[in-house]
Amino acid sequence: MENTFNKNASSKVPPSEGFREAYILHLADNSLILGQRNSEWCGHGPVLEQDIAITNISLDLIGQARNFYQYAATLINNQSAAKVSPPAGGGDLEGAATEDSLAYLRKEEEFKNCLLVEQPKGDWAQTILRQFFFSQYQYLLFQQLQNSKDEQLAAIAEKSLKEITYHLRWSSEWVIRLGDGTDESHQRMIKAIDELWKYTGEMFKSVSYELRAASEGFGVDVSQLKEPWQKKVSDIFNEASLIPPSGGWGALMQTGGKQGKHTEHLGNIFIELQYMQKTYPGCDW
């Protein structure tokens, strides 16, 4: 990201955010955190070609996050400009939000990403399965989001959808390849399913800002994506000789990420993601 830090931003939490901003930050955080997680493979991929593939996906996700953060920053700044007028000092708002301040300076409890995306990268099977679960979700979500009343969101969704279509294709094929591969790859997929299944339900459980965004016509009612998602996942699992774990679709699901209640793994991401800007506020390189 380019260096757009406001030197005064470090000590401030972002100005107040409404449900609209919360919704956009939720979309941004999902992409940023998964992008950051996948980037851990950089230089460590199982083979050179897949190392490049997964880091390409990381960059796609971080690109999506940037689009959402930039838009959220604009909305947040407009909102606080309306509240505090004229801006103190007459010039730019002090501590104005930027894509960077939103990514690097918000606290853990202010992040609204799903628990699924913050889980450790695990082995290749776990990374693949998580990508498949999430890409399938994003694919359905962004298809709807293209029809958003909010033209900016619709445009970001449309642009991202091509990338997501590829992520879905790539991860689906890997799920099949590993599930239907050797004994070891099959076992690893089963272990990955056991590990990640409990985090899938959250994606389809709307929280307050999603409900409001959906009712206002610019967000998507994610509960409606659940059935098509299950259908697609079943199809790929069938092809991969895999089955959902015991409890299946009705298994107990972990939630809370969207409301800022995270697993301990998000804090670990922040150690890398936010270290520089928190230690050297506004640093330049």
Binding site: P46, V47, L48, E49, Q50, I52, A53, N56, Y166, R169, W170, E173, R177
Partner: protein
């Protein structure tokens, strides 16, 4: 490590990486990192509509589908292409560098084979 070069077979690629099927009979596991036991594929990219596919490099993949996707990720990240061809390296047969003399040198003194001794009509501009 045993590294004999298979002379008549695609340049200088060591035998254990030359392709997939040979390995199935091999008693010893392939040397090199993980993925070295995957077949090698040659990648051809067409950069624009109307141009021809050009060889850009090679990569490892388990099957053609994966080879195309790997090629997409490795060789078209900077908008290099609109079309990808892949072919397993073992299906490419190469001329033997040692035979370069008899193969190519006889053409050196046959300059009359170049179309430089004719007056070309102006309309023909792709010669």
């Amino acid at each position: 490590m045993k590294t004999f070069i298979k002379k008549y077979y695609y340049g200088d690629i060591p035998d254990d990486k030359a392709g997939g099927n040979e390995l199935k009979d091999s008693k010893t596991p392939p040397s090199g990192g993980r993925g070295a036991d995957w077949p090698l594929w040659e990648v051809f990219i067409r950069s624009k509509q109307g141009l021809d596919h050009k060889h850009v490099g090679s990569l490892h993949a388990t099957d053609a589908q994966m080879a195309i996707e790997n090629a997409r990720d490795v060789y078209t990240r900077r908008m290099e292409g609109v079309s990808i061809w892949v072919v397993e390296s073992k299906y490419i047969h190469a001329s033997n560098p040692e035979e370069a003399g008899e193969l190519f040198e006889p053409a050196v003194d046959k300059i009359y084979r170049h179309p430089t001794f004719y007056d070309l009509p102006d309309e023909v501009n792709q010669m």
